[in-house]
Symmetry: C2
């Protein structure tokens, strides 16, 4: 969050199509020390300040079991970001590159993902370190760190599928849809 | 993706509120070998089959620079998942736990995140290994792996903020909003 909503030299904005292919629900709110985009860290750090993730009802029951994990992944909605700049100039020096090669908040779907250190859970509140977002940011999801999580569900046929031999010409899914 | 849409013994479904706090746009489509949720891997593996991420216009320009990274993060929309089960039983054994302590596709906002190995880019197509989703899954975002990415933007005041001393009682953001 190191910019407001300006278009800079060298950047390319597109005419965004309708943004309603699917709908999100804000399941909580993130409380951090940062009140302005121009003071937020560029990236969260695991020794950063404690932040509080407030989970709204009716989703508080979904926290059950989360304290088994030391690291959790947080997904949140960068609600102030414009969404239409496909080539961006992070240094504002006229040199631009694609949004998908940057972790900029300005993206077609401004969803941030961050791996944080879980400090504890107190009712509907999850205390963590490692966030970098603005105070009041809407929460989308919490998940165990993928590295620490082992599926509990029974094995699936795809689990053991390696390389491309099994699927031959269809390996990149040329089938429907 | 190891279930269809059944509600199992011990699980808790909630009455979902309106799901329109924000809107998503599908920016591409993911092509994989898996045509049915019951055959998908439970987790992607870096030695798994090649999958093709097709990026739609007008977002293809946003791929510029992505080949600098060996690992990229893919966000996609689990379009077939129900969203209302807050306590789930992955083993279908009557024992349930919170959705936020699982990487289940059934979540209030069914957004999947996966770290994949980038094999190459051919026009609007990104070839990767490490996915686990159904053929035809809508694409939401591509980002460099957070571990490999160093911000290009100039430093920010929050970058060096560690611990809770600087912010005292406001460390968990009790301020507005």
């Amino acid at each position: 969050m190191v910019r407001k909503n300006e278009l800079r030299d060298g950047e390319t904005a597109i005419a965004a199509p309708p943004l309603n292919d699917a709908g999100l629900v804000f399941i909580g709110r993130i409380h951090t020390p940062w009140q302005d985009r121009l003071t937020c860290p560029r990236q969260g750090r695991q020794d950063g300040p404690t932040c509080r993730i407030e989970v709204f009802e009716p989703w508080v029951a979904a926290l059950d079991g989360i304290t088994e994990y030391q690291k959790i992944e947080v997904l949140y909605w960068l609600h102030l970001s414009r969404r239409d700049i496909v080539r961006q100039s992070p240094r504002n020096d006229g040199i631009a590159r694609g949004a998908f090669s940057l972790r900029t908040p300005v993206r077609p779907n401004p969803i941030a993902t961050q791996l944080v250190t879980l400090l504890g859970v107190d009712g509907a509140n999850v205390l963590v370190r490692g966030l970098d977002c603005l105070d009041g940011t809407p929460l989308l999801d919490l998940k165990p760190d993928r590295c620490a999580f082992t599926p509990l569900a029974p094995p699936q046929p795809g689990d053991d599928q390696v390389g491309d031999d099994q699927v031959g010409g269809d390996s990149v899914g040329d089938g429907a849809p």
